[in-house]
Amino acid sequence: MKINVNAKDYTLDVPDNTSLLDALRVHLNLTGTKYGCGEAACGACKVLIDGHATPSCITPVASVQHKAIITIEGLEKDGKLHPIQQAFLDEDAFQCAYCAPGMIMAAVALKEKNPKPTRQEIVEAMQGNICRCCTYPRIINAISKA
């Protein structure tokens, strides 16, 4: 099986039913993408698939073989953070930060489509992401400022 992650091609030998999340974390050692619930309810595992923020935990890796996958590890360019990453850092928009990679990926997808989202648009786009530490207002600020 072949997949393209962060503009690199990989060949994988994985068991049946393997999720994209396990493929990334276990087989490619890209552990920035997190497990949170296993049922697409928390957003910790979101990655970009052809530009769409998608929960990787319920996405079979076999279904994304001809698509462009971007993970949190693929955002930094030449040592420079993506503007959303920088905004999260500047705003200190997290506590334990376990949700941060999924949040950042969802926010990147939102900003690609809508560079100047309103507060309400941010809330709607981010509704699938849980921050259990609940620093939601800071995350909204970070996305607004990025």
Binding site: V14, P15, D16, N17, T18, S19, D22, R25, V26, H27, N29, L30, T31, G32, T33, K34, Y35, G36, C37, G38, E39, A41, C42, A44, T71, I72, E73, L75, E76, L81, Q86, F88, L89, D92, F94, Q95, C96, A97, Y98, C99, A100, P101, I104, I122, V123, E124, M126, Q127, N129, I130, C131, R132, C133, C134, T135, Y136, P137, R138, I139, I140
Partner: protein
Amino acid sequence: MNKPGIADKTSGRGISRRNFIKVLGGGVAVVLTWTDLNGLSRSLSAKPDEGSIAAWIHIHENGKISVFTGKVEVGQNIRTSLAQVVAEELAVPVDSIDMIMGDTMLTPYDRGTYGSLTTPQMGPKLRKAAASLREALAGMAAEQWKVDKQAVQAKDGRITHAGKSLGYAELTKGKKIVLPVNEQAALTPADKWTVAGTAVPKVNGRSFVTGKHQYVSDMAVPGMVYGKILRAPANGASLVSADVTKAKISSAVTIVQEDDFIGVTAPDPQTAANALAKIDARWNTTPQPSRAEIFTYLKNNSEQRDRGESKQEAARQAFSTAPVQLRQNFEIQYIAHVPLEPRAALAVWEDGKLTVWTGTQRPFGVQEELARVFSMSKDNVRVIMPDTGSGYGGKHSGEAAVEAARLAKKTGKPVKVVWTREEEFKWAYLRPGGLIEAAASAGRDGRLTSWEFHNYNSGSAGIDTPYETGVEHIQFHPSKTPLKQGSYRGLAATANIFAIESVMDDLARSLQRDPLEFRLLNLKDERLKNVLQTAATKFGWKEKKKAGHGYGIACGFVKNSYIAMCAEVTYDPSAEQLKVLRLTAAYDCGAIINPLHLENQVMGCILQGLGGALFEEIDFIDGRILNPSLSTYRVPRFADIPPLDIVLIDRKDLPSAGAGETPIVGIAPAIRNAIVDATGIKLHALPLIPQGLRKTT
């Protein structure tokens, strides 16, 4: 990653005074003993030996500054705030300090990171240790220059005097000095702070936004396999038989069976899960209480433990003659912590020694648990706690660590166990449910005359009323819980203060008094009055509200910090829709060490509390949890978050208290009281919706 298998360099209860300079190499260190800590707090029980080390700060001969503490980082940002107080006293930039935390080999024994104790206990003592180190360095420089010690100054990592200066590294080079805390070393007062008291960003923040930080669930070592554990179908079930033959789905799968413990390992988690699903197990279940009868059950199974001389009769006597009487029960459901990173552990055995990386608030407690399970000396068990994906009081135990270690021992390979969300809901522990019975009375002058308060099962934290009550009888009754329960942010204070503040509000309404004025009339504590007034002013409590809108207020204090909350709500009965329109909080925890991270703590605590206030509840029938997933157990999300205004009161004249718990206690009663104001409906259960408003309309 630290190399496993070096658990033997130090004693099992953390590093000892004798051997640590050997481990660390040369330099100058100040050690802080438990005796030093006890001077500050007598509340520590089960202390290790007097004189054993509690924490220390070391300046290596190369100038590197390391702070060693058994405390752990779970998102509350003590890695940053403790570094700040040390940097302040040592006169160095905060990024020159390396915090070594929560590693049973490298750091001194610590009972755990809970109870809002890090900031009030470890913080001041690390300040004292840092000041002692600064004084010692100043003394060395003064001796070298043959000048009076009072004439030299510490600045930017150097000791200076009359145009001369020596860096800390130059002073510590070739030295092997271990010093006790110097009680005479002067601390920088909070109003002179330049590093502490400022918004220092999260230490290592960049590694979190890039996904590079390795949580335990992200870790891997060569040859590692993934473990999965067979679980019972319900609480109280026991294994009758298990046929594991079909689980051997490939040669790489190993099945481990030891009595009731059955686990599988495989080179990847999917194969392990596939194998586990093939085990044919039969279970014997026993009848267990269900949610429908839980409050009767908790009361019927409770103890009548008394707190000293009972004033129950006196309270009842005063109640019976009072012109305004209120008697009310409150029901508090069990809720889950839901740390976004579930329990995880990676265990490695090497030459009979065990090393486990695990996300826990009590690494030394888990070390003891492992030593007990494997009947081995603590000296041969090392537990390491990398910064973890949150806890909220929910990660005091070491289940995943024990499971990973059992599988690793049997398979002879490193094993990682990461719990699923369902396991975390079902097999971790919960915030206790509870029943509260309250009876209170007041005179026509608006002053309380009696107060009787019983809490069954949820706990005694925050049970004492802050109000002047006349005669009072307050009692916590421990009970038999059908579900595993344990610590949680604020413990029972969320339940007790919800009941206290609901009673106070209802009494105010019976007396036709303003709920804020009624509280102030019955309060003596100036700090609590101050947060109430500050929140009310910021909120616009006295301003006219729109038709159909309700204002609510509540306050509370636990663990030396003070919260007051105001809420504005509307309720649309036809749509059965409650809207929390805005929240205002005022919070006082003494001198603020990091205003940015304090605001994160207060904000996070309040908004997490919104879940327990409005909709979080564990549903269960016959010992089975019915909503063990994030699609069925609702936690606060972006759309639930109302505008939140936080006023932080910086009391530079007072010691800093911990802030991870108290802010959670005010939100539920503030919203509840706002609902009463908007609709006249008095709710007496947590969570408040969905069932509450529907039932009563």
